[in-house]
Symmetry: C2
Subunit: 294 residues, 2 copies
């Protein structure tokens, strides 16, 4: 099987590759060879390990978004500055490869001067969302390790803002003193709603709301599922409080993993908003396809 | 050298012992055998390793505050509930020891019903502060891993509130994506002040203010000392925003390590407050002495 081209989503912690044919995805593979674990000369072996048997006799076009274009990545793809369209025709950086059958093109991310901000990978998802919903005007939220909120108008990213919500959740739930009381696979929607409401109604008390989870665990046997769900609510609530100027009164589109998008949708709905949801992988592939066919 | 008694401050990560004579400290030792690293039967060996040559023929009184009295500690010393004096006569728990020359007494911590909160160790520092400043009425701030703010009136802890400020600083500065841009031993007072001001004037934007440190590092070469100091300012500012109902218009006493207390004093002074400072070790020892002599 030789695909028409290969789509690659290269994150900090993971690498995902898609064999693309005329009708879409032919095959999909992944590994934990994210940018964060690789030296410059380890990128080519990392991708070859996944795609070598997909290569034909001719050079294969491999279109890459994400952290492979970071300064510590395969080759730096300098940021494009907003306001601008999320992706631009021909704005690839060719990555050096010893294997002549690899024709690797890395998409640049976006930067914003004031307030200073950056994204790598989400610009491709935004381009994909705009390809799937042509003419969308409003705000796109991409929840995740570093959640992004982007204002979209006339096909351009006007401005954006990053929140460390997912990374804070991972750190606090697995590395802090709170970790003892939140080992659970269960979701507690009422506790999530309480955390949201606490954070949204008293956002300035964030630093105090965290330790209460520990104290209630000790004094009131707060169940781990409740603690974990409330922490999620507190962090997403803090993000929604801070991003309110972005989303209030706007058409909102969520682009993310299924469970996470559902949590954000539930939170935004409780605030009177009516967000739509698109799958993040679908948007990544639509974005890579769009930039390839431009 | 045989002391009159031994004072012990047993934290989660460290153990400190003080040989006490009529004129105060005769000797001081420490180890990293904090409560967090010890199983129940490892407490006695951990303390013996530090004090064995201080023991005489008679049982030695060893007065312990801190996490040794936690549920996962040497023996649980159940919380006393506020409002109450920070320490109470005879409210020790005797810890079981095989060595007959050890007479170990563990002080209980304090708990608060609503909002749920707990402390272990800080109650002793508060007792010490009140012994050093008899008749103090106002609010005592104990900055640290888990900063505490306690309302004091008529010798009692009326209420208190914990903030995970120090733990968040440690996690974010050493484990998050921001760690790359904040390796520095230098302090940047102007950046600290900026972080403080950002957090105090827009506390609801906390979740957004963090990632700006990363973006400014990438786009504007923000120096590591500035990033580190601004993170400290953001976190302490968030704490001050949340604890404002505690300290506004109150007599404020800071009990903590020198550098940290100075940072809090600078932050509070910028808000028009005039805090006093007491050394935390002096307060711990004064508190253990007070409870012993009660």
């Amino acid at each position: 099987m030789t695909p028409d081209w290969i789509a690659v989503d290269w994150g900090t912690s993971h690498l995902r590759v898609f064999a693309m044919g005329t009708d879409g995805i032919l095959a999909e593979r992944g590994s934990d060879r994210g940018m964060g674990k690789l030296a410059r000369d380890e990128f080519e072996p990392a991708i070859l390990a996944l795609v070598e048997d997909w290569l034909g006799p001719m050079p294969m076009q491999i279109v890459v978004c994400g952290m492979a274009g970071a300064r510590q990545g395969w080759i730096e793809a300098p940021y494009r500055t907003v306001p601008c369209p999320p992706v631009a025709k021909g704005a690839f950086i060719a990555a050096p490869a010893q294997n002549q059958r690899l024709k690797v093109q890395i998409l640049p991310g976006l930067s914003q001067e004031t307030p200073a901000d950056v994204m790598r990978g989400e610009e491709t998802q935004i381009a994909g969302a705009l390809a799937l919903l042509p003419g969308f005007d409003g705000v796109i939220c991409l929840p995740g390790t570093h959640s992004k909120w982007a204002k979209i108008s006339a096909g351009e990213v006007v401005s954006f803002q990053t929140f460390m919500t997912g990374e804070l959740f991972a750190l606090i739930s697995s590395q802090s003193v709170l970790r003892h009381g939140m080992v659970s696979e269960t979701w507690d929607e009422a506790s999530f709603a309480q955390g949201l409401s606490d954070a949204l109604s008293r956002p300035e008390r964030f630093a105090a709301q965290l330790f209460a989870l520990r104290a209630e665990g000790l004094l009131k046997a707060l169940p781990p599922a409740s603690a974990r769900s409330r922490l999620s609510g507190l962090l997403i609530g803090a993000e929604l409080a801070a991003s309110k100027p972005y989303w209030l009164g706007q058409d909102i589109l969520l682009v993310g993993a299924k469970t996470l998008s559902a949590a954000y949708a539930s939170a935004l709905t409780a605030q009177g908003a009516t967000p739509r949801i698109l799958d993040d992988t679908a948007c990544t592939l639509a974005g890579l396809f769009a930039v390839r066919s431009q």
